[in-house]
């Protein structure tokens, strides 16, 4: 009887759910209501599977954006911290640090896109609104870096030097990261502690970066860069935490993915 009922379902459906469904049917005595329900379920499976490819591709898209966003957030956090903190204490090659900052900023931009795409399933307006400021900041700072590399201290766009454009972009990226973190706390799809850490560290890092010259005058010579490095580390740590939480969610999805595509 159970084998016969299962035959009404499509082969693709049976490949994924057949075994557990047969076990379920074997656990109870089937009455007329159950048989009718199973037959209607089989009809639904035939109709539903026609659109399942699109739904699976949709789910794959979310999983992909989560994975890319997660890895990019981790890479961006690490590179941003390395480039920014080490360049602040003037050790090593400027070109290397600039490269780390540039690639790190690009990675954060990718992370913003990937994580926003994932979270926008539930709160599209909130998440995409919070995405705009940091994304623009990342793009502006990258443009500024190109200006610094090509024009040095000379004006790059209008009377603005590459450094000025880069600095404005970085500030927008940090302020925007706080907005993105608030949206992430509200969306509750990714780690809330990591989002809260990012929000708090964003507020900490702004005055520290703006006041770095003042810090140099107040604190011992070695302490000011250390404060900057710690603040930047907290900021980068927030992004890394969000990336790790995204990958944890993604890692728990393969069985579900298999279910969608079987």
């Amino acid at each position: 009887m159970i084998g016969l009922l299962l035959r009404f379902y499509p082969a693709r459906w049976r490949a994924r759910y057949g075994d557990e469904f047969a076990a379920l049917l074997g656990e109870r005595q089937l009455g007329p209501f159950d048989v009718a329900d199973v037959l209607l379920g089989a009809l639904d499976a035939h109709l539903h599977l026609r659109g399942l490819g699109a739904a699976s591709e949709h789910a794959k898209g979310f999983a992909m954006s989560l994975r890319i966003g997660g890895f990019a957030a981790i890479a961006g956090g690490i590179l941003w911290f390395s480039g920014f903190a080490l360049s602040s204490i003037n050790q090593g090659s400027d070109a290397l640090f600039a490269l780390a900052l540039g690639v790190g900023t690009l990675a954060l931009l990718i992370a913003l896109i990937g994580l926003s795409a994932f979270q926008a399933r539930q709160y599209p307006r909130l998440v995409w609104a919070a995405f705009i400021v940091p994304a623009l900041g990342a793009i502006v700072s990258l443009v500024g870096m190109v200006g610094m590399a090509t024009m040095g201290d000379l004006p790059f766009i209008g009377s603005w030097s590459g450094w000025s454009i880069w600095a404005i972009g970085v500030l927008a990226l940090i302020v925007g990261s706080a907005l993105f973190a608030f949206a992430t706390v509200r969306a509750r799809a990714l780690s809330r502690p990591a989002a809260i850490a990012l929000a708090i560290s964003s507020f900490v890092v702004i005055p520290v970066l703006l006041g770095v010259e003042t810090l140099n005058g107040v604190l011992p010579e070695a302490a000011a860069p250390l404060v900057v490095a710690l603040a930047t580390l907290a900021f980068a740590g927030g992004w890394i935490g969000l990336g790790v939480s995204a990958l944890r969610i993604d890692r728990s999805r393969p069985v579900a993915q298999a279910g969608g595509t079987a």
Partner: protein, 107 residues
């Protein structure tokens, strides 16, 4: 009231019952059926259960975990828990509104 478990059509109610059933931990299909029946007093047919399970799984609201014998347990994902909490909050507000209009507000 906006739909918070989207695009599930006639499976929206079974899906909500399944999400509530999974809210206290992973369960396999039969455990979900008996839990829902115990909680609502209404049977949940096996065909309806798996049609709703498949849709919830596709949308990433639940996920299957390693099977025990032939039974495969399911659990809520983080997104699923969020969607369920929002849905229940909306339903509670809606129920309060209805009870207030009836003059039978909950204490």
């Amino acid at each position: 009231m906006p739909p918070r478990i989207p695009e599930l059509g006639r499976f929206a109610e079974p899906a909500l019952l399944i999400l509530v059933s999974l809210s206290d931990g992973p369960k396999h299909g039969y455990a979900i059926m008996t839990d829902v029946e115990a909680g609502t007093g209404r049977p949940l047919g096996p065909g309806t259960l798996y049609a709703a399970l498949a849709r919830l799984e596709e949308r990433g609201l639940i996920e299957a975990i390693a099977p025990v014998d032939r039974r495969r347990p399911y659990r809520l994902t983080a997104v699923g828990a969020t969607v369920l909490a929002d849905q229940l909050r909306d339903l509670a507000e809606f129920a309060d509104l209805g009870l207030r209009r009836l003059g039978r507000a909950r204490p």
